[in-house]
């Protein structure tokens, strides 16, 4: 990338065509300014990424670059490792769990964030509501995980969930010990921990909507749910996508919550990609295999990055 071709660096005026700076070609001055940043990126991001990709074709045992194994790691990863991906009905494995996280964690966090933001703007104690919902953001993920381990504890004397279920004569249940429920229980904790982030950002966006637009919709005949779905949601679609992308990136890299609450268990049923990468590379010492999982993570992030870059370009043209 050169300075002249970056849309962010060219001021765009009006709604007309994007004007390009003169001297679109190569320039030594541009190289001088971009050089230091480019060098840092190369050393700390580009080189490790390429090295990791390289490592994924090696055994890499003991951290040593020992033996070239070709596609062995990759074939094993996608066909012979049920802990990473088992295609069947229902599918399972770390990659599939991550898909569940992406779909349910991101969509429910955004949805609850939106609903709480819309409702909070209509009550007097808005600041309190938002403060309480935002509180989990201020707690370290590991502490949050420990709190919820207690909540989910099968012992009703420790576990809030089973204490409540006990009143209704249900249980005790071991939600974290059951492969059928463990992922849902973890996703619920994730939503609880992140909904405040979505609420705060979306609430600011909703406040930017002119009250006259909402009143116009009301006079036009819209009910409150129609106003929510047909006016508010489309008008805050950009902040929604910002929140969704941020959550998405976070969830592809998710590790700490799983590590503290279940260490991927029972068995390997609550593993996610980042946890598998850690598990294979470090405790199991298969660095080549771990590197292949890391490359999968990187590839999953590529579409998100392309989406982000496109959106920023579109915004730059609109302004």
């Amino acid at each position: 990338m050169t300075a002249a071709s970056s849309p962010a660096s060219t001021p765009v005026t009006g709604s007309g065509e994007q004007s390009r700076a003169p001297g679109h070609g190569f320039s030594w001055a541009a190289l001088l300014f971009l050089g230091p940043a480019g060098l840092l990126l190369a050393v700390f991001i580009v080189f490790p990424a390429i090295y990791t990709a390289f490592l994924s074709f090696n055994r890499g045992r003991g951290g040593e670059f020992s033996e070239w194994v070709g596609l062995d790691n990759w074939i094993r990863l996608f066909t012979q490792d049920p802990n990473f991906l088992r295609i069947g009905f229902p599918p399972s494995g770390a990659l599939w769990n991550n898909v569940l996280w992406i779909i349910f964690f991101v969509s429910f966090t955004v949805l609850f964030g939106l609903i709480i933001a819309v409702m909070a703007t209509r009550v007097k104690y808005e600041a309190w509501v938002k403060g309480i919902v935002f509180l989990p953001q201020a707690i370290a993920a590991t502490s949050l995980a420990i709190i919820w381990r207690f909540v989910y504890s099968p012992d009703p004397n420790t576990g809030l969930l089973n204490a409540v279920l006990g009143i209704a004569n249900v249980g005790p249940l071991s939600v974290l010990g059951n492969p059928a429920t463990v992922n849902w229980a973890l996703i619920a904790v994730g939503i609880w921990g992140s909904v405040g982030f979505a609420t705060v950002i979306l609430s600011a966006a909703i406040k930017g909507i002119s009250s006259e637009v909402l009143e116009a919709a009301r006079v036009d005949g819209a009910t409150e749910p129609q106003i929510f779905w047909r006016i508010i949601v489309p008008m805050v679609s950009l902040p929604i996508s910002v929140v969704a992308v941020t959550l998405l990136v976070g969830v592809i890299k998710l590790f700490d919550l799983i590590f503290v609450m279940t260490t991927g268990g029972p068995g390997a049923s609550s593993r996610v990609i980042a946890f598998s990468m850690y598990q294979e590379a470090f405790p199991s010492g298969q660095f080549g295999y771990g590197a292949a999982i890391a490359v999968v993570m990187l590839l999953l992030l590529v579409p998100v990055m392309i989406f982000n870059i496109r959106r920023f370009r579109a915004e730059a043209v609109q302004q």
Partner: protein, 363 residues
């Protein structure tokens, strides 16, 4: 179409603030009425009560024969045009116009027909695929009007729809709204702070101040016979001159000058005890240069201080017995700064007000 009736309507905020105070107003079917007054006078609040966007604290609001105090805005059969246009920014012009119709579950071809028809009336056909941000202020304003007319409501409510437009566009759109009203004949309540807009557009004008209705009448009634000092000063541009005079039998004394009155004006002076103060009011455009010929007029001397040339006319600022007055004179009169002139005001154009109650005594 429908009548709209404000029946002893109150809108209070908390215990102290009365935004609309005992408003009584009957708006006829198809009438174009302007609510006018300075900012904070309660005109917009009254309109929002009519729209259902504010709760009514007391009294009743009727649209047609139906009391609508507790009817939701969407069920009042009204359409509103907002000051900021309030277009839906994520929808095209077509969808902006069609939104209200879709919500009413009209058939698709009926929606299409109405949108196209509305767009044709307002000259929006070319812009139907555009989003509001790609339109100019005047075009946005037309979309806002279009959104109201495609609904074919029984009442239009307009809240200062022209205040965000530049002066030239405002005059154009003013005429456009007037034409639209002639064509559709829909009952319209139009809120503005601009008395020129009110005078040019309204069948009747309701002047409000501090939540209270001051006077309601045709533009000419308000201009010729303002009921109080506020209406007299608010209606007309440039605004009316006021001066303090004292009663002396059937006449008035302004500084050292005796104003000889006749008719209604003489009776008003006679009703005051001698020596009591009254306020006299006269419009700049009713002042003439005295030539000794005019009968039934009051005359007083003035010294010209500033002359503002406007082309056909001149605004003459002059001092009369300690009062600064403004006169609008034809520019061929050749008045020059420093001139001592004699002003004459026809008797029937002289307004007399009680300085305490601010009510009109004559004129």
């Amino acid at each position: 179409m429908a009548t709209v009736t404000f029946d002893h309507l109150y809108k209070r905020y908390g215990d102290d603030v009365v935004a609309v105070n005992d408003l009584n107003l009957e708006i006829g079917d198809g009438e174009f009425i302007c609510l006018v007054g300075p900012s904070g006078c309660g005109k917009t609040t009254a309109l929002r009560c009519a729209a259902g966007l504010e709760d009514i604290s007391d009294g009743q609001l009727l649209i047609g024969d139906r009391v609508v105090n507790n009817v939701a805005p969407k069920d009042r059969d009204i359409a509103m045009v907002f000051q900021s246009y309030a277009l839906y920014p994520h929808m095209t012009v077509y969808d902006n116009l069609a939104f209200g119709l879709k919500l009413r579950k009209l058939k698709k071809d009926e929606i299409d027909r109405r949108v196209k028809e509305g767009a044709a009336i307002l000259g929006l056909e070319k812009f139907l695929d555009r989003k509001p941000r790609a339109l100019s202020g005047g075009q946005r304003q037309r979309v806002a009007l279009g959104r109201a007319i495609v609904r074919e409501p029984s009442v239009f409510l307009m809240d200062e729809p022209l205040s965000n437009l530049d002066a030239k566009l405002r005059v154009q759109t003013r005429a456009e709204i007037a034409r639209l009203h002639q064509r559709l004949g829909t009952t319209t309540i139009y809120v503005t702070h601009d008395q020129v807009e009110a005078m040019t557009m309204g069948d009747r004008i309701a002047v409000m101040r501090d939540g209270l209705l001051q006077q309601i009448g045709s533009p000419q009634e308000l201009y010729d016979h303002p009921l109080n000092l506020f209406v007299a000063g608010f209606i007309g541009s440039p605004s009316m001159n006021f001066a303090t005079a004292t009663a002396d039998g059937k006449n008035l004394v302004l500084g050292g000058v005796k104003l000889e009155l006749t008719g209604q004006q003489a009776k008003a002076a006679d009703s005051r005890t001698d020596g009591a103060n009254v306020l006299i009011g006269f419009r700049p455009e009713h002042i003439e240069l005295a030539n000794g010929q005019e009968s039934d007029a009051v005359r007083f001397p003035a010294k010209v201080e500033v002359v503002e040339y406007l082309g056909n006319e001149e605004l003459v600022h002059a001092q009369t017995e300690g009062n600064e007055i403004v006169a609008l004179l034809p520019s061929d009169k050749k008045v020059v700064v420093g001139d001592n002139v004699q002003f004459a005001i026809p008797m029937e154009k002289l307004h007399i007000f009680d300085p305490d109650t601010e009510k009109a005594l004559a004129g």
